[in-house]
């Protein structure tokens, strides 16, 4: 069980980490909304200045949080393939000029950077707790919490299923291989179902019922 690569920096100690999850989540929602709205309200030239100001605020928080900038930038680049797709389609039809494309790119990178800064300074459990305090539907929060808890357990299981198939069969052709993949997923589904029965028994033993939602 390793949530390490997701929460690598969430347990550091810094002024930003010590802020309450409530203020951090509110700030993130505010930041995302500002990035979205301000650039649509003003002229492109002014929008770029606004972007610089917002990036400045993020830079200050990044510095204070002691989360490595390299990590944040590397993970932010995950939005680039989608941008590439939009730019590609754009070059075929040409709705936006290069300046507008630059604006869109900046908007998406600043947004994803904001979210990364949140999850690198706040343990996921605290985010979920705050969401339920804000009257997020209990069922949804619970499903997310389970998903987070059992994701790595199931990932381990799928690894061992794949290893088993790999040991027993040499290289499979296209159709056979697809069928084997489907069987691995089917097996994983059955094991997940059986696991949920055991989890339910354990939860019931501790007094959980449908009223606990």
């Amino acid at each position: 069980m390793n949530h390490g690569f997701l929460e690598d920096h969430a347990f550091l100690n810094s002024p930003v980490h010590r802020l309450s999850p409530k203020s951090k989540l509110s700030a993130v929602f505010l930041m995302l909304t500002l990035i979205l709205i301000l650039t649509h309200l003003f002229q492109p030239a002014l929008s770029i200045q606004i972007m610089f100001a917002l990036a400045g605020i993020l830079a200050v928080f990044t510095f204070l949080s002691r989360v490595p900038l390299r990590f944040l930038l590397l993970r932010s680049s995950l939005v680039l393939p989608f941008s590439g797709f939009v730019i590609l389609v754009n070059s075929l039809s040409g709705t936006m000029d290069p300046f507008q494309i630059l604006l869109v790119l900046t908007r998406s990178i600043l947004s994803v950077f904001t979210i990364l800064l949140l999850i690198s300074t706040t343990p996921f459990q605290q985010i979920l707790t705050q969401l339920s305090r804000w009257k997020f539907p209990g069922l949804l929060v619970m499903v997310i919490a389970f998903m987070y808890r059992y994701f790595f357990v199931l990932a381990k299981e799928i690894k061992s299923l794949e290893k088993g198939v790999g040991m027993r069969s040499s290289k499979l052709g296209g159709w056979q291989r697809m069928k084997t993949y489907a069987n691995i997923l089917g097996m994983l589904l059955i094991r997940s179902y059986e696991r949920s029965e055991r989890i339910h028994q354990a939860m019931e033993m501790r007094g959980f019922s449908e009223e606990s939602l």
Binding site: S93, V104, A145, M147, G174, K179, A182, S196, E210
Partner: protein, 203 residues
């Protein structure tokens, strides 16, 4: 097709957030009415399963790979309401922890993949339930409709001209839908053979 933040206009963002938010609230309310305690861990663990399915890439021809959404599979097994909650949860986790999609664009993504994938997909499957061909048809239709909606959302945010964007997505997503359909048929066949009681969970 997970749309990140920054690409949709404020109008499209607000409209899609409103639609998806209301759909979520209505479905949670309906599910809460007669949920049994054992369904909660079931939904939770199967949500992890769907999440893994989405991260599990299939190698297809030419060295490229695609991944499944699992929306139709989970809706056939647990029913579209539970499937929709699971899909929404996985989209939220993908956006928060894996930088796949965005927070404000969650409305659009939940609409394209959750509402379409679970309710429309399941609805088409139920025209002729239990048949392999209806699973494949439902999967192709849901995938194409999701791409169509994403094209509408991006085009009305002035990202590209609708027809060009649509053409480039339709080809990719009808093939993706076909492959997802075939694999879903295969998985459901496997479960019916090994553990048929899972197929009765939704009823």
């Amino acid at each position: 097709m997970h749309i990140p933040d920054g690409f949709l206009s404020p109008t499209v963002t607000t409209a899609t957030l409103a639609v998806s938010g209301m759909a979520l609230a209505a479905n949670v309310k309906a599910l809460n009415r007669d949920i049994k305690a054992e369904q909660i861990p079931l939904m939770g663990v199967l949500a992890s399963f769907v999440f893994l399915v989405q991260l599990f890439s299939f190698p297809i021809l030419g060295g490229t790979s695609i991944h499944l959404t699992g929306a139709l599979l989970i809706s056939i097994i647990l029913g579209p309401r539970a499937g929709f909650i699971i899909m929404s949860a996985s989209l939220i986790v993908l956006a928060l922890l894996f930088q796949h999609g965005g927070i404000l664009s969650l409305g659009a993504n939940i609409l394209n993949m959750g509402i379409v994938g679970c309710f429309i997909g399941w609805g088409i499957y139920h025209l002729i339930p239990g048949q392999s061909i209806s699973i494949v048809m439902a999967s192709i239709f849901a995938s194409v409709l999701a791409a169509f909606l994403a094209a509408v959302e991006l085009a009305s945010s002035d990202m590209f001209v609708f027809s060009t964007g649509l053409k480039s997505m339709l080809i990719i997503y009808s093939i993706t839908g076909l492959i997802e359909g075939v694999i879903t048929v295969s998985i459901i066949g496997f479960i019916k053979r090994i553990k048929p009681e899972i197929m009765e969970l939704g009823s």
